[in-house]
């Protein structure tokens, strides 16, 4: 478990303890998930990270940047025209890993960035991530 910065956590989404409990529980429910990063898409800040092994801050920041590129950038705008709404999630396959990014259904600026092994059940995982984000958003409202 790794608390990345502590920034904005109280204001945005409940207490750090609550976030830690939720995200650590989710990661343990999906053993194929190696890291969960809770990020603010507007600022690019990493708010919290739950990881199997300690990860350097640069790598966590890169996950957040990738989430912004996929969920907020030109690709998201193009997908909005094709799909009818902004993407709620994105999956990027990189060799042995799947990177999954899920936007909060309650606070669209918040997202979970996840690195998983290729065996992860994507649909179940994204649905769970959306539920956790909704709970965090509601708790922080």
């Amino acid at each position: 478990m790794q608390c990345a910065t502590g920034r904005k956590i109280d204001a945005a989404a409940g207490t750090p303890l609550k976030i830690a409990e939720q995200l650590d529980a989710m990661r343990s429910d999906f053993p194929q998930c190696r890291s969960l990063t809770f990020a603010d898409l507007a600022s690019g800040l990493v708010l919290y990270a739950s990881t199997v092994k300690k990860m350097p801050q640069e790598r966590l920041d890169a996950m957040s940047d990738r989430a912004r590129a996929l969920l907020e950038g030109p690709a998201a705008a193009a997908a909005e025209r094709a799909l009818g709404s902004r993407p709620s999630a994105a999956v990027w396959s990189g060799g042995d890993s799947l990177f999954i990014f899920v936007r909060s259904p309650v606070l669209p600026d918040e997202a979970l960035c996840c690195e998983c092994s290729a065996e992860i059940e994507v649909t179940a995982f994204t649905e769970r991530a959306a539920r956790e984000l909704a709970a965090l958003g509601t708790a922080g409202a």
Partner: protein, 273 residues
């Protein structure tokens, strides 16, 4: 299934002796739902100890041949009379590994499609013409049952969308599997749209949006590496983009519930190392 239960069922079956033998083989079920056919197929694998080629025939006369030994499915073989697209999927006819998620998902999709919405199922068994490879552990009926229970929707008939033209690179193999279930698809080459299929409006959207925006983002994220893919999802739809490491790429607009299948099909289309 434990040995005691298996023996009890076998004795009961021998005592009842209700299976009919017809031209298509021993009838396992007739006028039954898909769940019953699925259970019958798995049970047949579970009861096969010696190396056998089990050829199943469904209500439509389609055939699916499975190499089975030691109560495990070792390999899918393209049956000569089968219209199920087994022969075109090298990942399916390769020996079945225990941990290959992509192959497992494809296999489940093919089995679900073969069994359809039910009907009848018959089987013939013959000794295998080759000795099973001892290093091929295959897959147990229990593991198959789990895969089948999580298999996606049955893809529509292939004539409902345009078939991609022939070819044997990764994108061509992927499209042969994914195009039938897609709303629209395009294949991109440096010269522009090389092939396309599906709904005209969706196809036009893909042609308009993908080469400019989505391909750019994919490149920035590292699509120069072989086999990278990207999926953007909403609640009801998914936009898949894949690059095989050459100048060609593919984009598929698909129902949202097919995301897992698309990823599995992309992984299964990977050329052998």
């Amino acid at each position: 299934m434990n040995d005691k239960k298996r023996l009890t069922e076998k004795l009961g079956k021998l005592a009842a002796d209700t299976d009919e033998i017809g031209l298509e083989g021993r009838r396992l079920a007739s006028e039954a739902g898909a769940d019953v056919l699925r259970a019958a197929l798995l049970k047949e694998i579970d009861e096969t100890i010696l190396p056998r080629l089990l050829t199943f025939r469904n209500r439509d006369g389609d055939a699916l041949a499975l190499e089975v030994a030691g109560r495990r499915l070792l390999r899918v073989r393209a049956a000569p009379e089968g219209s199920v697209a087994v022969a075109r999927v090298p990942a399916l006819t390769a020996p079945i590994g225990a941990e290959d998620a992509g192959q497992c998902a494809l296999l489940a999709t093919v089995l679900v499609r073969f069994l359809g919405d039910g009907g009848s199922l018959a089987v013939t068994a013959s000794p295998l013409d080759r000795r099973p490879d001892p290093s091929n552990v295959g897959r147990s009926p229990d593991a198959l049952a789990i895969s089948l229970s999580s298999a996606g929707e049955i893809p529509p008939d292939e004539d409902e969308t345009a078939e991609p033209e022939s070819g044997d690179d990764r994108i061509a193999r992927f499209l042969k599997q994914s195009a039938p279930g897609a709303l629209a698809w395009i294949r991109l080459s440096p010269a522009g749209i090389a092939e396309s299929g599906g709904d005209d409006e969706a196809k036009a959207l893909l042609s308009d949006l993908v080469p400019e925006s989505i391909a750019d983002v994919a490149r920035e994220l590292g699509s120069e590496a072989t086999g990278r893919c990207l999926v953007l999802m909403t609640d009801g739809a998914a936009l898949f983009y894949g690059s095989d490491g050459t100048d060609d790429a593919v984009a598929v607009l698909s129902p949202g519930e097919r995301v897992q299948t698309l990823l599995a099909e992309w992984a299964a289309a990977e050329p052998p190392a």
